[in-house]
Amino acid sequence: MNVLLSIAFDALAYGMVLFIICIGLSVMMGLMRVINLAHGAFAMIGGYIASYVAGPMGWGYVPALVCGVIGAALIALPLERLLYRRVYGASDPLVQVLMTIGLTFCIIGATNFLFGSAMRAIPLPALISGPVDLGVRTVPAHRLFVIACGVVIASGLWYLIERTSFGIRLRATVDNTGMAGALGVRTDWIYTATFALAVGLAAFGGAVGAEIMPLDPYYALRYMVTFLVVVSVGGAGSIGGALVAALLLGFVDTTGRYLAPNYGEFFFYLAVIAIVFVFPHGLLRRGA
């Protein structure tokens, strides 16, 4: 029983981190039709900035998160203008795959040059660093914090997309870029804003999730596949799909690691194959 609870709890926290990072990627893929393998690299940048701000600079946890998000977005925006813009909606996905893999390599090299290859931690404030007694079990407070962040972000995004004028324009642009443009929506601005939002979310996820997904220069490569899988399984552009996929895959992965530590990856990738076979267009999508 205890084991089950702990698995469920860890899985939930892990799934939420995956969701926070992947949702930006999913929206980007849905909107700009770009397979962005460098998304994990942006998460890593956020994590590194946060670790620098909270560590050596000693500004504290919340400013670290804020700096991580803003810093990553600032780094990413010129890249969007210079690189991504040229491959949006490219007919051959390989072009995007290769360009963003290249970008990932560069970011890994640069990160190592600046910070070295050792692992980085983000010091947690006392409030969320200890255990919390939930009655049935004590759990690390940080995990609770992560789960709460995931819930807040999911609802915030839902509100943003379903209820605000930005969301209406975003959805119009997703449905039909040309038509939205004709109706006066500044689609290039929507692209830039969405890109910044996606990178900001990734950076936030990279920073708050650093306890669960440790930061080192290879972070960007290590989790590249996982992020891609979550988005593909959830269906590009779908918030609900990404949430379900992140939680489901987080659960499969965590359970696999707990119950059959030697065969964890097997479960994960078998599940991926099974899901893609059954739902080729994503978990919550109807055909085509």
Binding site: I101, F105, P217, F266
Partner: protein, 336 residues
């Protein structure tokens, strides 16, 4: 009937170079043979390194068959290569020592792995296809890792010591035999594959890549033909794997890894997809760079590859191999 007026009436048969010129197929293999011989004579100390390049070139050519000619998106091609490498390695450890038989066995294993991969990934398209291919290679990696008794797991499979080629040529310390064997296989493969891509089947595959629905509308099937190409690609990848097992004497887990698959794709795109010789160019450039830059610092190496990739994808979408064609166009008419 006169041509539609106002259109540039192209000079007779521009771009017709491939039609009806006998012997043209042999130009590229001859060039490779000459370069290979020169390398042998000029750098006798680097033969092991050159052999590695040839193995990479074979692997990338095999990838080109499915990516460049059929438009399949895969980041899991190492499954085909690894199958060949492990099959040859395991058979050798078990006592089969004829190197050519071992390589042939690797090729067969590659075909089987190609068929299995094709069955899984060809059901989807685009991103899901990419993800399926990754899932397949990760599963294969885990399987090889867990089957430690047969594969040596993460320590790698060692103790592969094949006998002499044709019972005559021992594998020597300088890697001469290995290099010559590899070069001969490369040239033979190049001849065969250039034939294949210029066959009716090759034409059909190019059509499938460009517009599969249109192929159906002329009565061609998609799935079966892609599976067939995958099997052929597996034969070549398995051959490359078998060759590496035989020439280096070890097979590591990295031969079935996602990383190796991604590297092959990088090489292919660097050199230019859909031309076969682009695969050669990419393998030479990439492996060469890796050899010299990575020796200094692996992170610098990553940075260089990354920058190169971005540059090629954005500035030279047809790959470094297209530089040659581009240069040729600059030359005055009539020049070779």
């Amino acid at each position: 009937m006169a041509p539609i007026p106002g259109r540039p009436a192209a000079s007779p048969r521009p771009g017709c170079r491939s039609r009806g010129v006998p012997g043209r197929e042999l130009v590229a293999p001859t060039v490779v043979a000459i370069l290979g011989a020169l390398a042998y004579l000029a750098f006798p100390d680097d033969l092991a390194f050159f052999t590695r390049i040839i193995v990479a070139a074979l692997f990338v050519m095999s990838l080109d068959l499915v990516v460049g000619y059929c438009g399949v998106a895969t980041l899991g091609h190492a499954v085909l290569y690894g199958a060949g490498a492990y099959a040859a390695g395991i058979l050798c450890v078990d006592g089969l020592t004829d190197p050519l038989l071992l390589i042939a066995a690797g090729s067969v294993a590659g075909v089987v792995a190609g068929l299995v991969t094709a069955l899984v990934i060809l059901r989807a398209h685009g991103l899901p296809q990419l993800v399926l291919s990754i899932a397949v290679v990760q599963l294969a990696y885990e399987a090889a890792n867990k089957a430690r008794d047969i594969t040596g797991g993460s320590d790698g499979l060692s103790g592969i010591s094949p006998g002499p080629v044709f019972g005559l040529f021992e594998f020597d310390l300088w890697g001469r035999t290995a290099y010559v064997l590899a070069l001969v296989l490369l040239i033979a493969t190049l001849v065969v594959l250039r034939r294949v891509v210029r066959s009716p089947f090759g034409l059909l595959c190019r059509g499938i890549k460009q517009d599969p629905d249109r192929i159906r509308a002329i009565g061609g099937t998609i799935y079966g033909n892609l599976v067939k190409m995958y099997a052929l690609s597996g034969a070549v990848a398995g051959l490359a794997g078998g060759l590496t097992a035989v020439t280096t004497g070890v097979v590591g887990l990295d031969s079935v890894s996602f990383e190796w698959s991604a590297e092959a794709l990088v090489m292919l795109v660097l050199g230019g997809a859909g031309t076969l010789y682009g695969a050669l160019v990419g393998a030479v450039v990439f492996t060469g760079f890796e050899h010299y830059v990575a020796a200094v610092d692996p992170y610098h190496w990553l940075f260089v590859v990354g920058a190169l990739l971005i540059g090629v994808v954005l500035a030279l979408p047809a790959g470094l191999g297209s530089l040659a064609a581009w240069l040729r166009r600059l030359l005055p008419q009539g020049a070779p």
